[in-house]
Symmetry: C2
Subunit: 407 residues, 2 copies
């Protein structure tokens, strides 16, 4: 497997576009289209929030029932959540408009929205935007980049990745883009992530791979503990790589999963590091936990702790907060057995062990906590399982961004 | 029942003191003593965090096994958490020192600590402080106030309350003090709360009343979602009111519970409103939930949501975030049935109903969200249960306080 340039247009047969539609933002791209020249198998996972945005309901129905899909239309600015029947009507209008222009059924068009909750969609601006998108769609890296930029909200960088690997001698590509910066505490998957592949794979195996991959990627990140109403991850597979179809859990399936895992973990980390107001990526690795699930719970508890996040922002080796967050996670353990290490800028120090603080240089600690990527290791000494979670620090700018978000 | 002046020294037979011991802070009171002239029954609840501070372990053992207690020694500045055997030794040294000076067993001395986690206690300064405390202890409101101030850390105001009521014709008083501002997400009870009463009540009934009262008071507040290692609530009852002992769940017990509930809810709200960096008390009332437990979960989910808290700070009627927080709470409900109202400064507006945004004046919404106390009502239309939770907004100062806490 190797990492290659590009994103959603990297795999064979995919086109994309990003345009300015004036949905809510002015003078920036705010609508994106991903289109496959051939019908695609589709799999997805969606928010577990009881309050599901209209596009989530639309997509979920399509993933469950439609024989194939061929396009994804996404807008930023307004989330189309908490919008009732009017919101569902907006999704249908978008899908019908795109379907007509692309010559495919409305039920082959997936819809995504991200932005302010509780605001109705400007349907005329959406359909005008879709006309522009269909006119602008084209293959190539530039088009994929445009799309990745158009789905951003408070993101400071666009997020895309692509990998190449072989399945039975055939070259297969998985490309992807995502967005996410605030209201990030995915439970199933995060905000919006779109993965395209030319792999030939059965719908069942595709869904299995998707459900598997989110557990240790998107479900292991958090920016603010708020599980969005719009979380959506979709994978489109158009089969143009012409590999023998992956239809059972064989070696080919494992190769596909490995590549997909790389893509989702890469994007998950990107999203955490670009959390609203973040100045650092804050990674927690839990080692030697008794069960995999407990390892995940412990790691997530630490990266979700406001006090731990604030300590990272302040470059303050206040390790008690990290231990405290392990302690209230709900997992039982013996604090006297836990060892805590901080790592940053290729330096690592132990700060806690044998139930008491270790001797370390505060100066060195502050220096390594000033790195753009800080890792906390919690060695539980209970078993053989481990897990990694990703978050970010809590800064003034997080507050600023979210106190003013609508204005 | 009527509210009276004072705190831990309001009930008969209680003395207190607060002194400067230089534990970590300079030039401010940082040690407190509460002393009863007569032996007390004691009940308590403690943090559910797996990582329990040494004083929590010390107190828990005493509450479980000691025949009586007569004093509480508390310090601020250092939490004596994550300090291993050395931390337990410090507790014993404190209790022995206080016991010797007061002429009571070490096992009649409860210990409390709050402040930085992961730092060892300066035992000599502690015992010197205890000598000062014992010399300074006296009855009266001023002494109680001194104690309430000495236990503060990042609190901006001291927190105490007292109520008077009658049990079988006898006047009974419950007084209390607490501290708590950051690392507040109590699970059993919050940071440090000390309640004193002259009521005559059996240990069993006292513990029952304590376990009951925390559920809808301290357990319903959150500042930052971080359940502390030190959460402790203790109630001392010395029986000097000479009422007939409360030994069963009779009318007297209910009167005691009512008074205790007032005290704990009052302090819980105070603590939430004085959350680190808070500019407003943020209350959420969930109405017509299907079960009491679900009402509590829903209310707490909203006051814990970083995005909802930031919206309150920004006076931004971004109601979708509140609905989103209800949605990810884990409670099942039909979003189309929920009605959301915002209230502040005696004004109330509906912002969501029938599955869609309501028409309201943004100007009016901003005005009421600028009140020092904002209440969000979520009417679930599912049943007859309700619950209230208290939090605070998320401000720049929360980040500032916690990025620099140790320095």
């Amino acid at each position: 497997m190797k990492v290659i340039e590009g994103g959603v247009t990297a795999a064979k047969g995919y086109e994309a576009a990003g345009v300015e539609a004036g949905i809510k933002y002015q003078n920036r791209k705010d609508m994106a289209l991903v289109y496959s020249i051939a019908p695609c198998k589709v799999a997805g996972t969606f928010t577990t929030n009881v309050v599901k945005a209209a596009p989530v309901l639309w997509d979920k129905n399509i993933v469950d029932t439609a024989p194939f899909v061929q396009a994804v239309v996404v807008n930023s600015g307004i989330a189309n959540a908490c919008t009732g029947k009017q919101g569902m009507d907006a999704c249908r209008a978008e899908a019908e408009c795109a379907g007509n222009l692309l010559g495919i059924p409305a039920e082959a068009v997936l819809i995504g929205s991200t932005g302010v909750i509780g605001m109705q969609m400007p349907v005329e601006r959406l359909t005008a935007g879709i006309e522009k998108l269909v006119a602008a769609k084209r293959p190539g890296a530039e088009a994929g980049l445009e799309a990745a930029k158009a789905i951003m909200t408070t993101d400071t960088v666009h997020k895309q990745v692509a990998v190449e690997f072989t399945v039975g001698g055939k070259k297969v590509i998985i490309g992807a883009m995502c967005k996410g910066s605030g209201m990030i505490h995915p439970n199933m998957c995060t905000m919006l992530a779109y993965v395209t592949t030319d792999a030939k794979i059965s719908k069942e195996m595709l869904q299995k791979a998707v459900s598997r991959t989110v557990v240790d990627s998107f479900n292991m990140i958090s920016v603010d503990g708020d599980t969005s109403t719009n979380d959506t991850m979709l994978v489109l597979a158009n089969g143009l790589a012409e590999n023998e179809e992956i239809a059972v859990e064989n070696e080919d399936y494992l190769a596909f999963c490995e590549a997909l895992d790389y893509v989702t973990k890469y994007l998950a980390k990107k999203m955490a590091g670009d959390g609203e107001g973040a100045t650092a990526l804050f990674e927690t690795k839990v080692l030697h936990a008794d069960t995999k699930e407990n390892a995940r719970i412990l790691a997530k508890s630490v990266i979700c702790s406001s006090l731990s996040k604030a300590a990272i922002f302040g470059h303050d080796c206040n390790f008690g907060r990290f231990l405290c967050a392990l302690g209230y996670s709900g997992v039982q353990f013996d604090p006297d057995k836990v060892e805590l290490f901080f790592e940053g800028g290729n330096k690592r120090i132990q700060v806690f062990g044998n139930g008491a603080p270790c001797k370390y240089s505060e100066e060195e600690a502050t220096e390594l906590l000033s790195s753009p990527e800080v890792t906390v290791y919690a060695d539980m000494h209970m078993g053989e399982e481990e897990a990694t979670a990703w978050g970010c620090d809590l800064s003034y700018d997080y507050v600023k961004i979210n106190a003013d978000y609508r204005s």
